[in-house]
């Protein structure tokens, strides 16, 4: 097999991986991690999910895409402006290449690092190399193994001790090759008493030929640190997306995950907060909107390993057309995790008779002194609400929009970033107009 240096489209094979490494596109692999990851990928079966059929996803159909594609105009415009009030930094990766990585120089001077994860992991002794793969192991399943073998570029964000970053760090992963496979990879380390907000968006143009995105995000939240990770899943409606995100949360530290689940034809996400030290806490917020034939399978885990840990999850989903959602929310409280508090609420609103939602909240509690509760509802839009709003002059479409906005409102109020609220509302409008 020959590969050109400017353009690379190759099957997801061991030869391709060797070539990536030889050409320095994949990091120097000091611990032979990639070879082991490939072996794990080759050995594993596709995950078997109870309510999502992955048997029609053939990974062999996809080829690796490294070369950057054509970014949408708004992203290109963003890369040209350096508005440090709006954002602390900007990282843009297109397919397998980083096309932009820029940080407020004032933060760089304080030791903050925003840049290529590939470069940050070339030496085994580096901070990044030591932690990469420690939060999400390569061999967890076939897709984490696939990502761990083939990722290129990647974001490394490091926030040193006592540094609090006000404005969000904006991250974009873009893909635009039909039939291509992309492997976004993120490692965030927030040291003791640090604070940072990451706003990640994944985008691709709409098309007919499927595109595969298998991403892995690892977040290490040091003692008393605060990390807010906002993830807007806006892949095009032809994308098949596998998302694995986990935060290891230290003593008295907090991770907030905020999800906007909007795109992809088929998505499986797994988001975990591992509350491994006393006083660790997590908030998980999510809004999901499925339309057309979209299928979103969302799995969340609030994993209470240590005592005095807190979890609070609120997800809301709206489905129209023939869209389908599966929400599995697990609260797990280990034997040692006394005095844990954990709450989970999931509500879904169906706008059509053909839409379907399954919500399966569950508790695994092995400690005897905890407070935990969960609740889930799936309801159809109430015709009497529509009629009432119509009698005030709103059209059926306007009435539906008002009801959907109202339904998402409790979560929108907890998403404090106005720019994120705006992005989500735009997306809802687009979905309702379609």
């Amino acid at each position: 097999m020959t590969l050109t240096t400017t353009s690379m489209r190759a099957a997801l094979t061991h030869d391709t991986l060797d070539d990536l490494i030889r050409r320095g596109l994949a990091s120097a692999d000091p611990r032979q991690g990639r070879a082991a990851a490939f072996a794990a990928f080759a050995a594993a079966d596709m995950p078997r999910l109870e309510r999502t059929d992955l048997s029609k996803v053939h990974l062999d159909d996809f080829h690796l895409v490294v070369e950057a594609g054509d970014l949408p105009a708004d992203i290109r415009a963003t890369t040209r402006s350096e508005d440090h009030e709006q954002r602390a930094g900007l990282f843009v990766q297109s397919n397998g290449e980083i096309v932009h990585a820029q940080l407020n120089p004032a933060l760089a001077a304080r030791g903050v690092i925003l840049g290529s994860l590939s470069q940050a992991t070339t030496t085994a002794a580096s901070k990044a190399a030591k932690r990469l793969g420690s939060v999400v192991r390569a061999d967890e399943d076939k897709l984490t193994a696939l990502n761990s073998a083939f990722w290129t570029g990647g974001l490394f964000l490091y926030v040193p001790r006592n540094v609090a970053i006000e404005a969000p760090v904006q991250v974009v992963f873009h893909a635009d090759v039909p039939g291509g496979a992309v492997f976004p990879r993120v490692l965030v380390i927030a040291e003791e008493n640090a604070a940072v907000t990451i706003l990640e968006e994944t985008i691709s143009p709409v098309g007919d030929t499927p595109l595969l995105a298998a991403s892995v995000t690892e977040v290490i939240v040091g003692p008393n640190a605060q990390v807010k990770y906002i993830h807007l899943q806006n892949w095009g409606d032809n994308a098949i997306a596998f998302i694995t995100q986990r935060a290891d949360v230290g003593r008295d530290a907090a991770i907030n995950w905020t999800h906007g689940i909007l795109g992809a034809s088929l998505m499986r996400s797994f988001t975990e907060s591992r509350l491994g030290a006393e006083g660790a806490s997590t908030e998980m917020l999510g809004v999901q909107f499925g339309s057309g034939n979209q299928h979103h399978d969302i799995f969340t885990l609030m994993n209470h390993v240590a005592p005095l840990t807190d979890g609070d999850l609120l997800f809301r989903g709206v489905l129209r057309d023939r869209a389908r959602s599966v929400f599995e929310g697990l609260i797990k409280i280990h034997p040692g995790a006394q005095d844990a508090n954990s709450y989970l609420h999931d509500n879904t609103l169906l706008l059509s008779k053909e839409a379907r939602a399954d919500s399966i909240p569950s508790l695994e509690i092995e400690a005897n002194q905890v407070r935990a509760s969960h609740g889930a509802t799936v309801s159809e839009i109430d015709e009497d609400w529509i009629f009432y709003l119509q009698t005030r002059g709103l059209s059926r479409a306007q009435a539906t929009r008002a009801i959907v906005d109202g339904f998402f409102e409790p979560i929108m109020q907890r998403i404090t970033l106005e720019s994120v609220q705006d992005r989500l509302r735009e997306a809802f409008d687009r979905k309702l107009d379609a």
Binding site: D384, W385, Y388, G393, R396, A402, D405, G406, F407, P410
Partner: protein, 263 residues
């Protein structure tokens, strides 16, 4: 083109069961009409049918307003023509504030597609709230969520004030209200009443009519208007009861009571 609401020979059924059986009624601009009748006589069916609720099937008849037979129109188009219904049981719309809801309703009726400017809207809303003696904090609350019976009805009258209809239908606005709340709501209606507005007050009891004085009173039995008179008719009805009406109009058989037993 008339601003009166003209109902002609209206027949309406629900799931095949006839409820309105040839109803004729004209509500004139500048006048308050009271429509009285016992439970099950079809009062609320009339209100919902006039606004276009999809569960009610119109089998025969016409309703003319602003030069159109409005039975062909969607509920929102009827609203935009100037028809308003204050609901007996207003629904709760979670997450939608009173202010936001009113703004959506105002924007929906802007004919040029433009939106009403927020400062102008705020002023309009706060003026109307003041007129109805409502606390400004009301605007920020989610519509009808956790509202008392009186608050729900005041929210309905606030919507009427902001939308300023030509013809307003008040469906059992007195139900579930204590006397103080009733007076507040009635005062609101009286404040809004003007020569360009016609009001149809639907009620089971005469009580509300002590505070909202009708020019005309209609009595409804078994899906038809059976008596029409002046304000004194409401008082007579209060004194004599609906059986007196049945005897007067030769409907001795208490059709309605049979229906109630079935419920």
């Amino acid at each position: 083109m008339s601003n009166d609401l003209d109902i002609r020979n209206l027949h309406v059924s629900i799931e095949g069961k006839p409820i309105l059986k040839g109803l004729d009624l004209t509500v004139e601009q500048g006048r308050i009409h009271a429509l009285m009748g016992p439970n099950g006589s079809g009062k609320s069916t009339l209100a919902y049918t006039l606004m276009g609720h999809p569960a009610y099937d119109v089998d025969e008849g016409e309703v003319w307003f602003q030069g159109e037979n409005i039975l062909e129109l969607a509920p929102d188009d009827r609203s935009k023509l100037g028809l308003f219904l204050a609901f007996q049981y207003p629904v709760t719309i979670p997450g939608v504030s009173v202010a936001n809801f009113l703004r959506l309703a105002m924007n929906a009726r802007q004919t040029d597609g433009k939106k009403i400017a927020i400062p102008a809207f705020r002023k309009l809303m706060l003026d109307k709230m003041k007129l109805l003696d409502m606390d400004p904090s009301f605007a920020g609350r989610y519509l009808n969520e956790g509202f008392s019976g009186g608050e729900k009805k005041r929210a309905e009258i606030l919507q009427m004030a902001v939308l300023n209809p030509t013809i307003a239908i008040l469906d059992e606005t007195d139900s579930g209200l204590d006397i103080d709340a009733l007076k507040i709501v009635a005062n609101g209606v009286n404040t809004l009443m003007n020569p360009d507005m016609g009001i149809l007050v639907i009620t089971h009891y005469q009580r509300l009519l002590n505070y909202i004085k009708p020019d005309v009173t209609h009595v409804m039995l078994d899906g038809r208007i059976v008596m029409t008179g002046g304000p004194e008719l409401a008082e007579e009805l209060e004194a004599q009861g609906y059986d007196w009406v049945r005897q007067q109009v030769g409907l001795a058989e208490p059709v309605i009571d049979v229906e109630l037993v079935e419920e």
